[in-house]
Symmetry: C2
Subunit: 766 residues, 2 copies
Amino acid sequence: MLAWISFLFHLLISFQINIFRLSFNLLIRINAMDQILFWLVPAASIMALCFAWYFHRQMMKESEGTPQMIKIAAAVRKGAMSYLRQQYKIVGWVFLGLVILFSIMAYGFGVQNSWVPIAFLTGGFFSGLSGFLGMKTATYASARTANAARTSLNAGLRVAFRSGAVMGLVVVGLGLLDISFWYLLLNAVIPEDVMTPTHKLCIITTTMLTFGMGASTQALFARVGGGIYTKAADVGADLVGKVEAGIPEDDPRNPATIADNVGDNVGDVAGMGADLYESYCGSILATAALGAAAFIHSGDTLMQFKAVIAPMLIAAVGILLSIIGIFSVRTKENAKMKDLLNSLAFGTNLSSILIVVATFFILWLLKLDNWLWISCSVIVGLIVGIIIGRSTEYYTSQSYRPTQKLSESGKTGPATVIISGIGLGMLSTAIPVIAVVIGIIASYLFASGFDFSNVGLGLYGIGIAAVGMLSTLGITLATDAYGPIADNAGGNAEMSGLGEEVRKRTDALDSLGNTTAATGKGFAIGSAALTGLALLASYVEEIRIGLTRLGTTELSLPHGDAVALQDATFFDFMHHYDVTLMNPKVLSGMFLGSMMAFLFCGLTMNAVGRAAAHMVDEVRRQFREIKGILTGETEPDYERCVAISTKGAQREMVIPSLIAIIAPIATGLIFGVPGVLGLLIGGLSSGFVLAIFMANAGGAWDNAKKYVEEGNFGGKGSEVHKATVVGDTVGDPFKDTSGPSLNILIKLMSMVAIVMAGLTVAWSLF
Amino acid sequence: MLAWISFLFHLLISFQINIFRLSFNLLIRINAMDQILFWLVPAASIMALCFAWYFHRQMMKESEGTPQMIKIAAAVRKGAMSYLRQQYKIVGWVFLGLVILFSIMAYGFGVQNSWVPIAFLTGGFFSGLSGFLGMKTATYASARTANAARTSLNAGLRVAFRSGAVMGLVVVGLGLLDISFWYLLLNAVIPEDVMTPTHKLCIITTTMLTFGMGASTQALFARVGGGIYTKAADVGADLVGKVEAGIPEDDPRNPATIADNVGDNVGDVAGMGADLYESYCGSILATAALGAAAFIHSGDTLMQFKAVIAPMLIAAVGILLSIIGIFSVRTKENAKMKDLLNSLAFGTNLSSILIVVATFFILWLLKLDNWLWISCSVIVGLIVGIIIGRSTEYYTSQSYRPTQKLSESGKTGPATVIISGIGLGMLSTAIPVIAVVIGIIASYLFASGFDFSNVGLGLYGIGIAAVGMLSTLGITLATDAYGPIADNAGGNAEMSGLGEEVRKRTDALDSLGNTTAATGKGFAIGSAALTGLALLASYVEEIRIGLTRLGTTELSLPHGDAVALQDATFFDFMHHYDVTLMNPKVLSGMFLGSMMAFLFCGLTMNAVGRAAAHMVDEVRRQFREIKGILTGETEPDYERCVAISTKGAQREMVIPSLIAIIAPIATGLIFGVPGVLGLLIGGLSSGFVLAIFMANAGGAWDNAKKYVEEGNFGGKGSEVHKATVVGDTVGDPFKDTSGPSLNILIKLMSMVAIVMAGLTVAWSLF
């Protein structure tokens, strides 16, 4: 407590002293243009938040429809909010524990930067806030979307999409706001005199990375908990409602139907928001840290500063272009499905093309070294994202052969549907992996000036590619978050008995959302892989800082050489710690990393299985015990199902999340730096491939079922349909729980390793 | 052609000249005791073959039973042999292509050792021969086992187990025979004068490794082809027979039943034999090569020789102890199931305990440096194997909670069975991975004298652990191969109408086989992982030889250092090629390696799905078109089903196999040495974990169904049973096609990389 008070006091004093120096520093060392450019970052973030608020207010002005619609929307909202409160309670305890741990490490043993505990907290807070705001909007928007769909398809699209845009803009706005705030704060309070200017920027950027860990931890709980919640409800609702009782999706007679709609909000909106907030910040922060590191011994502070703010600037420009893209999404009245798809695609494509042009311009304006080729790295990132998205679409959309053949395999029953789906998912990993590999090599070569040995700039290029991929997140996330809103609108329409025509329109909106979600998932997975790589490199930078804190000045190298710690390159660190593929510690770490990916998936799969089984039991019980549910005379007990999902998700999310946090710490304590790097890369390579496999298999099963429902192979109610429903049910946790959680596992393990680097350097068993 | 003739002529001449020097060399440089010890190796191999012949003859003396039994056994034998002939034809073409390629590389461009083409051929030949002989015995043994089971359970066990022992002994016998032959031949023909004695042994051992590639290639086709065959038949038979028509397993009315029984032989006997032949030889050869490398610049030829023959000696002693173990498997008349299990366990445990004692003795006798601790590495290997086996048993046996809970999940339908099974399989990867990691670290530390920087001896220790794990393969494989024989005996009994009592006995034998198979699979997967690691190290040795052939004498190191190629350590190679985790080429290779494991599984899963769908169509057609099948009045057309499986397996096995061969070559040509090492390790770590996941999920599904059939959760015919049958069907390709094929993928990619090292060193794009 005492340490805390003295620390806060110190903080206040130093902040007051340094706030004056801040503008001075910037003015002295950095010319006016660069300074102006930097202020684009907070400006863009505030602009994003303003537009989010504007879209939110616009949406709130719409009518929520009939009393029945209002009642249902309120029930879903209540369930979602009560779940989120419960989740934040548990996450709060975990955060408390971690902050105490970090404080002890920082103020007690000095193996940790003293800013870490607070940075960690703000990251978690903003990540949670993104999810919360996005979800709140979504729960208000669903009934309004359904009501607007009573007028026209176009009106429904506008309400749903602009509400999705709230989420997209909140995520990028809060992300850049947190980044700007910490950058300015640390720049002001970190004393100049104890270190050279180039090292100051390194300290700033690596300290900022720890707020990424807060975001990751929050995101993990949101994704895992939300994922378990939504799929327990969905699987439970489908298994008993659709398969056993034969009632349609979202039927009000199904007791789990409100829980299912709540699940869409907590899993697909709040969970995804926290996830992408984390990817967005992680990629920018890791790239900034790499930029600082790349120029660490050049003595060129200005260029270092430029390399640090370049990713932030690209993100800031991306926000402006996203807003333009969002406004460009509008269709004529009485638009057809194809027009809707085209108008959404137009918005995202417009943003992507503009960001390419803008990147060249902004990096030229910044006069960053090698700006031309570094801009090409941004293009590489965008292209890789698009290729992954397209490949996901090819493998999972019922417009193409793979999913159609998957539907056909239903002719021989559910077993062959599962076998073929797993086969399809595994095959579908080839194109994304090859795209990422080409992306890694290309962005590395571009940024490093085609010199493999220029590791610092090369890795910076990989980070820049990740930033490029995520730069237009404002609009891609809008198209993504729009999906669950449309889904919920459909649910609301069905339960409120709005009639065939409205339901058909909301179905069209929903189906459109599934297509855009495929692209969105490609971006999420691809950016996780690239961000993971950039974080790895940041880990090595943290090792340098950890060693400095321990008083090390020299790094010994093989054959008796040595190099000053300050001047050591990435490869020097690799050689010092023998992080080569013949080191048994590295190999052990890699085996453990691969295992972690599978273990984590297994835990989340089982969690869904268990929670869904409870839901099935409850729904069966209600059908059996509450007379008149199936005839529509009595209302089922929706709240109990909501409570079961909430409890299940809470209970089940803790163990996988803790394992993800503990594994890198334990590996570091046993095997040291080589083991941790092995763990991270093993987890990254296996986790990336596993995530694609699970996402695509799940998506393909979902759409294979839809393809049958569209009237192929016997249509709804046929044996083939039943077989594909089994596939869809298995696919639910694949694509919405385990698969997306892996993205976060990859990044969280790296973040934990980065934050714990000081401890790993100070002590390890081997 | 001309090159071939001149080469053969050269071979003859040099053989004649050198055969005289052979005994002289051995006598001069190696003292009498060591020489005598070496001859233990060929002696043990011949002994194994003699006992195999003896057991075969004994089995053939038994009566094959009634005319109906003879007829069925003949049909299965005919189907199996005709499949094997077809397979060898295709494999023959692939071998021809590869031999031509190797010949061009060796005699045309000189980037390849001139012995490679022939060594490659003998490896393939002996591997195929092992499968062939084992399968031939198995097809003769099934009816005889069924007939013996008419007398007593014990008589059935004896016939089946001794026939399985034929396979076990043939594999180890042919393996050591090939090794002895090549060791003596190369020792005789490689001229002494062009290199120092220590380098001669390196050349010998690394050349011998290439016969491992022949064995791997053969094994891959046998495993993949056999795996597709057996599961297409099994899935087809189950889906239509059990699920749709409701007739029991192995019912003669099912048209696919003969194909199913043929499948057990070609997949589980011939495929497994070729697989383990390859693991056995691979681990011994890789360890010998590591032994030679570890002493390369000590100048101590004697110690080097000892390190080379130590793994062979451990294997030779293992053969003797396996034979003792096999003879110790006998029960009293009227033994119960528990007695049978105990007597099998007694045999394998006896061999394992004796091998520990014998290893200490033999390495002490050999006076190998650090013999005490190296013997401990053997124990490490055995313990890791046992832990993996036990963990497999825990997760897949219906005597334990996981599988029982899996059965219970059938209450909510097939979808939850699949979700829970995948969750279970993924969780089950934790213990084996942790066991292997501890095994890697412990065997490395023991052999290196607790010095992490002593890479050469450390890696040798990992190899020795793999050899230890496989040393008693003679008996572990016997317990493994016994399973399909018992399975076929059950099929024969059912189809011949031998009555309830006999069928019950064969069921008991079959179920016993399932339990022992779990342990056997543990050994196969664990040994693949350790062998894979040892092969990686051998790859580095091949790089050295490749560089020597190119005239390189020095290896440049970071910071301007250099080291003589002859004296370069493993770490020097890593530093020279920058095989560190920050090299984008290494990272790219690792992503590709992980992807390869999934791609390969996806291809084989889809192959089974497609082939099974054809089988289902055919069985449905026969039920529909041939009247009187289901009433037992007409005999179904078994042969067509056999032909469908044969054709399906042939067609489907080519692409995955070729991809496995091409991937390391292509990666080498693009990314060079760092890329190849990344590919191998990425494939190894992901492939190992994926293989355990698939094997255990499949095994658990199988036994979850059996648990229900034993009368739990409603028993046979209930909804829960139907749900678990879906799980079992999905599990079939998991555990018997894709999972085991991954073992070979891991090793084959390493073998291809080793054989192609000369090319990789000579040219790569980056």
